[in-house]
C-alpha cells in the first residue's frame, strides 16, 4: 500500500523557534540569505542580485526612502515597505541617500522600485519561512 506524501510528513529543517527567528532576520537583512541557509542556492543568488539592484535603481531614479511619519499613514506604509528591503535600506539610511527629488520625472518610478523591492523581499522572507517549516 502506498502512502501519499503530505506537508505534515515532510522533515522540518529548522522548525525550532529560535532558528526560525534567526532565519527570518538573516533573510530580511540579506535578501536571499534564508534560501541560501535552506540550501536553495540558485534562488538565493537571484534574490541577492535582483532585490538590491531594484533598490539601487530606485535610488538612481531619485526615489525617496520614506521616513516614519505617523501623521501621514501612506508615508508610514511606504516607510515600512522601504524598511523590508533590509541591508540596502540600512545602507541608504546610513549614507543619507534617498532624499528624493519630487520635481524629477523619474521620482514616482524611483519610489515604485524602492517600495516594490522591499515588498518582494518580504515575500522572499515568507517563502524561506515556509521552506524552513517544511511546507514547501
Amino acid at each position: 500500500m502506498t502512502t501519499k506524501s503530505t506537508t505534515a510528513e515532510r522533515p522540518r529543517a529548522a522548525a525550532e523557534p529560535g532558528t526560525l527567528v534567526l532565519l527570518c532576520l538573516a533573510a530580511w537583512i540579506i535578501p536571499g540569505a534564508g534560501h541560501f541557509w535552506m540550501g536553495r542556492r540558485q534562488k538565493a543568488i537571484v534574490f541577492l542580485v535582483a532585490l538590491p539592484a531594484m533598490f539601487l535603481i530606485g535610488l538612481l531614479l531619485k526615489g525617496r526612502v520614506f521616513p516614519f511619519e505617523l501623521s501621514e499613514p501612506l508615508v508610514g506604509l511606504a516607510a515600512v515597505a522601504n524598511l523590508l528591503a533590509g541591508a540596502p535600506w540600512m545602507l541608504a539610511r546610513l549614507m543619507e541617500a534617498g532624499a528624493g527629488t519630487v520635481t524629477a520625472a523619474t521620482y514616482e518610478y524611483g519610489n515604485c522600485f524602492l517600495i516594490v523591492s522591499g515588498l518582494l523581499n518580504f515575500l522572499v522572507i515568507l517563502d524561506a519561512y515556509d521552506i524552513a517549516l517544511g511546507r514547501k
Binding site: 534562488k43 537571484v46 518610478y109 515604485c112 518582494l120 522572499v124
Partner: protein
Amino acid sequence: MTSHFLLLVLFSFFVSLVFSVLLRDEPREQLRTGAMMFGGFIATAIVLGWLMFPFPL
C-alpha cells in the same frame, strides 16, 4: 534614463524574475512563468496606455 517604456520594461523584468523564481522550482518552469508574466506586464501596460489615450489629464 527617463524613457518611461524602458523603465516599464526594467520594472517588469525584475518583478517577473523574482516571482517566477519564487513560485517555480524547475528552471524550465521558471523561464516559462517569467516569460509569460513579463509579456503580460508589457502587453497590459500597452493596452491600458492606448485605452487611456483619449482621456486628457
